[in-house]
Symmetry: C2
Subunit: 457 residues, 2 copies
């Protein structure tokens, strides 16, 4: 459809400028000091939706940050696509490792550098611009709904309540999400699953106050040493997680599917070179792509305790802390794994310390069938704009709300992401390539076209 291409070409500079403005808002959901920025960002999303052609768009308050909902219902008899995305971003620290301000977006070498450039402002905003393209060229083939939340990066603690209370508002025939990555722009792929999550925080308390490590050292349990011993014991010599029952519910992937996965292009030398490591690490008996795709993991996301400043302080600290998260695969259950992990930590904590372990957030794993209408509409759209059939792959990340969506709304989810693994999500110097941004905007209308033809209508 040349009208789309023509409209995009004529407006591409503005499409970019609008995204850059959105990236300037520091919408860090984890930090309470950004509460006002969250509202400001939600309002900007609402205004963009209305400007793009949504007939209504509203902020819905929640116990946490607001949800933005907008829609354009062209004809109730046509199929409805619900676009889900999130306007919140991860914290930007460590700030000193950024080459430019995380909320001062810059374009360099054809890439947009900013926190949220890819995850997920750059990606959900493609859908807003695709809506504009279709509306302005009078060619929107579906009904379209937008649900853009502000708490994805903290586990969507309030979205389930919103979804359950607004099932008819959100009723749709498919849910479309751009919050994942492709293998590369030369090797397009579509994620067919996201992993679940169980994210906890642990506090180990030894003595009731910081002590002089000379006067008390050697005689009193040091919470850092003890926390380290506990963490060390969570993986065995084959790097398998030792929490009893951890693997019990894991669906065994067939030799056939593993063989298919192994055919996806992957260059281990290139992977190691990109990360600057001499050797990889992971569960024995599985390849790198299997380790990040079909296997559950347990990772340390943070640790702290004692003196962490300049120079030396001879202290035996009172407390040590860690943030630990597990990625889960079908059919693991987040609540069950969280309980197993916390119970196990309590069981291995020695008597010389007390342990507090609490859930930050969780989410269930999700798989999408490749023979669904939605998946086929996405694959065909990619074929049209990339000239290649996308490879179905398992994604390593998590989108906590997916399984609830399917349960409450009764429809399948399609992950049509245009990011790259090298986009530095959750890291300093997050980026999104201009090519990918524009390619996404170009591809999305074809999804709607295909789904309107192939869907229930």
């Amino acid at each position: 459809m040349n009208a789309w291409k023509e409209y995009q070409e004529k407006n591409k500079d503005r499409f970019l400028q609008e995204l850059l403005e959105l990236l300037k808002i520091p919408s860090v959901s984890a930090r309470s000091e950004h509460r006002n920025d969250m509202v400001k960002c939600a309002e900007a999303v609402r205004d963009h939706l209305l400007a793009a052609g949504a007939t209504s768009a509203t902020l819905y308050p929640t116990e946490g940050h607001p949800v933005v909902y907008g829609e354009r219902i062209t004809d109730p008899s046509k199929p409805t696509v619900l676009v889900y995305g999130h306007y919140d971003v991860q914290p930007a620290d460590p700030l000193e490792l950024w080459n430019s301000g995380p909320f001062e977006p810059v374009i360099k070498d054809g890439k947009i550098f900013a926190r949220g450039a890819c995850d997920d402002k750059g990606q959900f905003f493609m859908h807003v611009k695709a809506l504009e393209m279709m509306v302005k060229t009078d060619s929107l083939p579906t009904n379209i709904k937008f649900l853009i939340e502000g708490e994805e990066e903290v586990g969507s603690p309030n979205l389930a309540t919103f979804v359950k209370a607004n099932k008819s508002l959100l009723a749709a025939d498919v849910i479309l999400i751009s919050d994942t990555a492709m293998i590369s722009m030369d090797i397009p792929s579509l994620d067919i699953g996201v992993r679940g999550l169980s994210y906890i925080e642990v506090e180990v308390t030894g003595p009731n106050r910081d002590l002089h490590s000379g006067v008390y050292g050697g005689a009193v349990g040091n919470p850092i040493t003890i926390l380290a011993k506990m963490i060390a014991s969570l993986h065995d010599e084959n790097n398998r997680v030792t929490v009893p029952g951890f693997y019990d519910d894991v669906v065994v992937v067939s030799a056939g599917e593993r063989k298919l996965m192994a055919e996806a292009p992957f260059d281990e030398q290139e992977y190691k070179k990109d990360l600057g490591v001499k050797a990889l690490w992971g569960e024995k008996g599985y390849t790198t792509n299997e380790r990040t795709g079909i296997r559950p993991t347990l990772e340390l996301n943070g640790i702290w305790g004692g003196y962490t400043g300049e120079g030396a302080k001879t202290v035996l600290p009172s407390k040590a802390f860690a943030k630990i998260s597990c990625r889960l695969v079908p059919n693991q259950n987040s609540e069950k794994i969280t309980k197993l992990l916390i119970d196990h930590l309590h069981s291995i904590a020695p008597e010389s310390v007390t342990l507090k372990a609490e859930l930050h957030h969780g989410g269930e794993p999700y798989m999408t069938p490749i023979d669904s209408d939605g998946y086929r509409a996405a694959a065909k759209a990619i074929e049209t704009t990339f000239g290649k059939t996308p490879i179905p792959v398992r994604g390593g990340g998590s989108i906590p709300i997916c399984s609830l969506f399917e349960q409450e709304l009764g429809v399948k989810i399609v992950f049509m992401g245009f990011g790259l693994d090298s986009d530095n999500l959750h890291s300093p110097n997050e980026k999104y390539e201009l090519f990918n941004y524009y390619k996404g905007i170009e591809t999305i209308p074809y999804f709607h076209q295909n789904f309107a033809g192939n869907g229930k209508a």
Copy 2:
């Protein structure tokens, strides 16, 4: 000598006020932002020495913070006492655990609360006030020299150079140090040894940048997990240090001495209650007092890596860090232990990470003989003012410069400390009891009197 008692009684409020003023100066040697406070504190010490009766007192610049030297030579034929102390203090963090500002001293329940109240401003200042008492009552029985340095809490990196270059200036018959503790005011004791120290910092680097823990987790070595495994392996199941060669040079303490040590009053239930722990921890086969006195230890003083802020961040960090220190006993050598520890850490670091391990500072263990003139002069002074013979005990802490003093100046060191283990050294709410402060000032002149009688003169 009633003139001393009378002088002290008349001036006790001023003695306290002067100390409080000194405690207001945040002389934190580890932090470069306190460089000017260090000079200010050194100048205050110099002025106090001159006011107390030192005939000269000077700041000597070093590569780091200045050394204060002062003296009063009454008669070259009399024995000379060199008083060593330090005007620098430990960092005050974690600030939020202080009940009052660390550099805003307050008196509560007969205790002075402030960083440095006991370690070591409150203790070395007793010697300045004792000098004043003896000079003003015209009864100083010895020559007296003061060496008050500003880098003890960072391992005295520049004091050795100063001592070696000023051997005749510092020439003395005994070195007297108040920087240790007594069992209690009811059970006076004298330390007969301090432990040595080897303090290192470790940096473990995995991938060259922070990664998304979903996209890369399970496939890339996590530096926190790997650092935890390394730390965990440093103690075996009997809590013995596993660094090869660590115990090779440790002097085996005789059954007789261990029996004597076991006779010193110690209430394990009280000790646990004070620290708020259900169980103690330490090397199998040794008592608590042995673990902190005659055995070497390895303690974690700090750890950090990844996301340590509010909420959750799903990051697989690039780096993790730890501060580790060993306390050493006779005849361990700090340099040798540091090398053994760093070599061992390199040997156990897996290929998926790179390790950097560097020395912060070290110091040798030191023992003082109980049949020396100095020890006997101190014991007799304690008998006079406490009415009890002090128990000789092994201290757990370190005063890095001790072994160098003996080597360069050829004299013995006497540790006459008036602190308590419960003084929260290096911790929030450091304190020094008024009773101990005044008791120290009262006792010190008797040391000089005894040493003048018993010493070489």
